[in-house]
Amino acid sequence: MTLLSVSGLTMERGKHMILRDVSFSIGKGELIGLIGSNGAGKTTLLRAVLGLLPAAGHSSLATLPQRARARQAAWMPQAREVAWPVSVERLVSLGRLPHLGAGQPIGRTDRAAIDGAIADMGLEDFRHRTATDLSGGELARVLIARTLAQDTPLVLADEPIAGLDPAHQIQTMRLFAGLAVAGRSAVVSIHDLGLAARHCTRLMLLGGGRLVADGAPGDVLTPDNLTEHFNIIAHFAQTEAGPIFQPLDVVGMD
């Protein structure tokens, strides 16, 4: 069953083509790493897919009514914005809004989802802390927990692991992989190609607004793609300890 189908997504801003004819579909149980250099259109693609930006073409999420979409897909923007000094628990519980009617208090299912998300992100000790007092990495984990509490079949996250320490980066990627094992799916934009290669079931490479490669990590992180779209050469090997990817040098940048 497909959770998301996108076809011919195109967006122009002035003379610039930000997205060109992007088509893909996502089934159950996938952890997709959305990769590409700065300005390749990763954030724009995710926002257009959700219908937060007007774009030509079709996205099955953008056509849903807003409440229905919020139950189908959770979105974690790149900006880690928290406007008010609310507690971590309250912030995470905002993820339950799409499931609650107007004025309906938090019920048992909601409570379970909130507690589960807090536990998954290892935030028990932070539960009653003020979110705006946390460090950048801690806040990122709280916002991921908020996204998980939304309990949607699909999670879209824009650079969720940027700014996390190595242990929490690995933990978070495992957590998303765990969602995929449980039959949900996640799309994460990510710059750390090593973590992407190790944890993602599929990579989508954006270059100049076009989806230039889409497939298993080994098929996407080819020397040609790395040179053309990232300007790097890298060591990439399948080892007993899993795939290991290490960028080595810059090429073709004047």
């Binding site: 979409r69 914005e81 928290v82 406007a83 008010w84 609310v86 809004l97």
Partner: protein, 327 residues
């Protein structure tokens, strides 16, 4: 109902009672309240029903309006310095009122002034919406509000500047300071329906404002219709602030200070802050209006002057506290 809401409700009730029994007539408290409910044929009943009751009701609903509109505006803009005057409604309502005084419409016809003020508020809010557009980031709303506020302020100054009549000019200046003195039940009936409508609109924003804690993008992805939220906010604020300004003049600081004071008591949730600020605003305005009558009873001290005098030091204290926290 939380303890905070109970405490605020009790405070508001006590202040309403105090507002009803305190006044230059100096009647015993018990007699005053009795005269309100039972017409005993004495002038006291007239004083209670025609002077103090409308004044207390107006302080209650206008305070609630300013408090809730301030909380809603701060929540929407995610800025603790926002206030209900930001979208230009109070400035354009004041312009309408000033024109009514200047042209003699206010003197010719009992409701000339409040109706002109309401017309000003409606024109102002339409202009803001036309400038800011129905959708888009909150910054466009702030900018449009600033444009309309300064335009209305400039036109008000122009009217004062060109006023050939010094009496009209001083009447304008005093009206702009804001007051609840000598308002009748007719003023209540004029303002109350609009204020009730506006409060009902603003009260629907709870979820949307809570979601906006995470920013506009995340709120939208949580199923919040930002276009509708913005329209509801502007319409609700325009209704409550337009009606309040029309009958009482411009009263500052309530919408700014009250949400700020109460925020820590509701765990900083912008949705929960709405009704708390309505009660808090009502309490602040009732207290200020009592103060006006007690401190300088013979001088007709203006309400807006008192709220600013009380509000500014309170705000200063909050800034000082914030500064200490940041250090």
């Amino acid at each position: 109902m939380s303890r905070l809401m109970l405490a605020l409700s009790a405070l508001v009730l006590a202040l309403v009672a105090a507002a009803l029994v305190i006044g230059p007539a100096n009647a015993p408290y018990g007699d005053s309240l009795a005269a309100l409910f039972v017409d005993d044929g004495t002038p006291l009943t007239l004083v209670m029903r025609e002077i103090r009751l409308p004044r207390a009701i107006l302080a209650l609903v206008i305070g609630a309006s300013l408090g809730m509109a301030g909380a809603a505006m701060q929540g929407y803009l995610r800025n603790p310095l926002a206030d209900p005057g930001l979208i230009g409604v109070s400035a354009s309502a004041a312009l309408g009122a000033v024109l009514a005084i200047q042209t003699g419409l206010a003197a010719a016809f009992a409701f000339g002034l409040p109706l002109a003020a309401l017309a000003g508020a409606v024109l102002g809010v339409l202009l803001v919406l036309a400038l800011a557009g129905p959708r888009g980031a909150s910054i466009t709303l702030i900018l449009a509000g600033i444009v309309v506020s300064s335009l209305a302020g400039a036109l008000t100054s122009l009217v004062l500047n060109l006023s050939p009549n010094p009496f009209a000019a001083s009447e304008i200046v005093f009206w702009m300071m804001g007051s609840l003195a000598d308002r009748s039940m007719d003023h209540v009936w004029l303002a109350l329906p609009l204020i009730a409508l506006g409060l009902a609109l603003l009260a629907t924003l709870t979820r949307g404002l809570d979601a906006l804690t995470l920013g506009e993008d995340a709120a939208q992805a949580l199923g919040v219709d930002l276009t509708r939220l913005r329209l509801t906010l502007v319409a609700g604020t325009a209704a409550v602030v337009g009606a309040s300004t029309a009958v009482a003049g411009t009263i500052g600081f309530v919408g700014l200070v009250v949400p700020h004071l109460l925020r820590p008591f509701v765990g900083a949730r912008p949705g929960a802050l709405l009704w708390a600020s309505a009660l808090g605003g009502a309490a602040m305005l009732l207290a200020a209006d009592i103060l006006v009558r007690v401190v300088l009873p013979t001088k007709d001290l203006k309400l807006g002057v008192v709220t600013a005098l009380v509000g500014a030091p309170l705000f200063l204290h909050l800034i000082y506290k914030t500064r200490r926290q940041m250090a």
